[in-house]
């Protein structure tokens, strides 16, 4: 490959962008953040969720999530006495614009927000062939989009359906627990906008975090416990019919 003038002219702007990218990759924005001081989790209080969709919209805006894909979404359940194992569930556009009025007000109806569970024994990071997705030392499962091949093995391996392939980057993508926010002392976008406090970010390594008291005094569940993924999203007041 000859370095012709034309090629150089094409390469230079790309190099400039790349340099800016490399510079951006420094932890300058949060020099006081120590990775090993944190072990992130989330608490979701089902009885408080009103299915307004603010979290889905906020996440999409904060993280430039492409239309038709969801880093977080809300499901509405309709459980009657006789179909406990097969409830009626819907998630119109992930719950982004809220939910239409449901005709059947009988039985039990409730909302379940879902997101990446940031599993401690994550099956998705286990199967990645190159090490493009990983669990950080502070417990967040991330994707390195400049290293991902787009093989989709991780999408298949996630039991919760929280991963997708971004059609613009052709790499795997999912909830990052707003890593760029929580490392700066902010909370996640979804927790920030939740009007009822149904979603709360938690730091299990922080002794003062209210989650410790909460976990001690409430009955909580994780999704699909039989998968033994070490899920760190805890659901308070979740019905057993939730899939």
């Amino acid at each position: 490959m000859d370095i012709t003038r034309r090629r150089l002219l094409m390469l230079l702007p790309a190099a400039a962008v790349a340099w800016k990218y490399v510079q951006a990759g420094t932890f300058e924005a949060s020099p006081n953040y120590k990775l090993t001081d944190h072990w992130w989790a989330m608490l979701i209080d089902i009885p408080k969720c009103i299915g307004c969709g603010s979290c889905v919209r906020a996440c999409a805006e904060e993280n430039n999530v492409p239309e038709g894909y969801y880093r977080t979404w809300i499901e509405r359940y309709h459980v009657s006495d006789w179909n406990f194992e097969r409830p009626e569930v819907e998630s119109p556009n992930g719950g982004k614009q809220g939910f239409p009025l449901n005709q059947d007000a009988s039985g039990k109806n409730f909302f379940v927000p879902k997101l990446c569970n940031h599993c401690a024994d994550s099956p998705c990071t286990q199967v990645c062939p190159v090490g493009a997705t990983f669990v950080t030392p502070d417990g967040v499962v991330l994707v390195d989009k400049s290293y991902c091949l787009g093989c989709r093995y991780c999408v298949q391996a996630c039991p919760y359906g929280c991963r997708f392939i971004n059609p613009k980057t052709n790499t795997a993508e999912k909830c990052t627990l707003c890593y760029h926010r929580i490392t700066k002392g902010l909370t996640t976008a979804c927790c920030e906008v939740c009007p009822t406090g149904a979603r709360q970010l938690a730091d299990l390594k922080n002794p003062k975090d209210p989650i410790h008291e909460f976990l001690r005094t409430h009955t909580v569940q994780v999704l699909k416990p039989h998968m033994a993924t070490g899920s760190k999203v805890f659901y308070d007041g979740m019905d057993g019919s939730v899939r």
Binding site: E90, V127, C128, V130, L149, N170
Partner: protein, 399 residues
């Protein structure tokens, strides 16, 4: 494009992740493994009858193995990064480790065995041909023109040893693909310890059938006489392998129906509706039961040679179609249902797109011109030196 969904799917599940190209990949590596096992029957187990197909089976395996990475590359979001799998393989990932299994099998087993078996012919041709072909042969000799009896004996011993390692390597090659699916605990259609074994046996079935068909076709094209003893033997092995394969698949099915765990109802409904044609009709009835019955009948009734040949051809064709359907049902079927067990989606296959039907057809046909080139370079016929009935003029310098 809007994908029709029945019931509820997690929002990110609606679009299928692995397309027809990922159906092709286990199919192709299965043919490779099966063809190789057939070849090793002669070499290691000294089954003399199948000797006429030995070299053909090896070349078939090679031509398919060379095409095998292509569907994977076309499927990747970033094929230019695929070297990362060899540079920083993640040891806990079955897919990463498979990259090395593939490389091992290609380099250390298949290429080496072919080279050792053909070395005498290569050296002779490097001295008797001219032009570009001569250059190719000279490169293949690696600069050594020693074909003394002792060196050939050494080659033969080494070749035997490699075939010996090659058999478990072939099992590993395709069993690993089964493991890639079987180890995904998130997917109950895939997750099963039986998956690697089922894949291996169905691979052997498809490989043996493919070599059998290719042998019949190529012999016919060359205007030669088919060695019926060889064909009978291959058909026999096909039948035995098929019975084992069918038993394994039925065992999996029966166990699922009996245990009826939380996924069963959803999967059962899927098989009865979306997978009815591809699984029950094509894979099981036409692709497995019919060939087994046909082959069994030839063993029991012992019809005439012509009838046997026709039956083998029919059984072989049904088999290769049926095993393709099996790969389809595993890969596509595993993505049609929701992991919530509450709904189903649809596979929208493009036509002239990167992962579309046309691409799949081209990839499936690609091994044949490659095989043709290999056959021209390294003729596998027991009576090497004769030419196809299509009337191609002999190359100058060859006998």
């Amino acid at each position: 494009m809007q994908i029709p969904v029945e019931g509820f799917m997690y929002p990110n599940e609606v679009e299928l992740q692995w397309s027809i190209l990922i159906v092709l990949y286990p199919y192709i590596t299965g043919l490779v493994a099966g063809a190789f096992i057939l070849a090793s029957l002669e070499r290691v187990f000294r089954v003399e009858a199948v000797k006429p197909t030995y070299r053909l089976a090896l070349l078939t395996a090679l031509s398919f193995l060379l095409v095998a990475p292509l569907p994977l590359q076309l499927h990747l979001g970033h094929p230019e990064r695929s070297l990362e799998m060899y540079l920083t393989p993640h040891r806990s990932s079955a897919m990463a480790m498979f990259g090395f299994v593939y490389l091992w099998y290609l380099m250390a087993v298949l290429l080496l065995e072919i080279w050792l078996d053909y070395r005498r012919d290569i050296v002779v041709k490097s001295q008797t041909t001219t032009g570009v072909t001569r250059l190719i042969y000279r490169v293949l000799t690696l600069g050594s023109s020693n074909i003394s009896e002792r060196s050939l004996r050494i080659d033969e011993r080494l070749g035997y040893f490699i075939t010996l390692i090659g058999i478990p390597s072939a099992f590993l090659l395709h069993g690993y693909v089964g493991f890639i699916f079987g180890s995904v605990k998130a997917n109950p259609w895939w997750s099963s310890p039986l998956m690697p074994i089922v894949f291996i046996f169905s691979a052997m079935v498809s490989g043996i059938a493919a070599v059998m068909l290719l042998y019949m076709l190529s012999t016919r094209l060359r205007g030669k006489e088919i060695d019926i003893r060889c064909l009978d033997k291959i058909a026999q092995y096909l039948m035995y392998t098929f019975i084992i394969d069918f038993s394994l698949e039925m065992l999996d099915l029966l166990q699922r129906i009996y245990e009826a765990d939380e996924s069963f109802r959803s999967l059962d409904f899927m098989v009865h509706t979306r997978l009815w044609t591809s699984q029950v009709i094509i894979q099981i009835l036409l692709g497995t039961v019919t060939p087994i019955v046909l082959l069994g009948l030839t063993q029991v009734l012992k019809p005439t040679e012509t009838v046997r040949k026709r039956t083998y051809a029919l059984a072989g064709c049904l088999t290769v179609i049926g095993i393709f359907a099996m790969r389809w049902n595993v890969v596509i079927g595993g993505q049609l249902f929701s992991k919530s067990f509450l709904g189903y989606t649809t596979y929208k296959m493009g036509f002239a797109t990167r992962e579309g039907l046309l691409t799949a057809i081209v990839l499936m046909l690609l091994p044949f011109p490659i095989l043709w080139i290999l056959v021209k370079l390294l003729p596998p016929w027991p009576d090497a030196g004769s030419y196809p009935a299509s009337g191609v003029t002999p190359e100058p310098g060859t006998s």
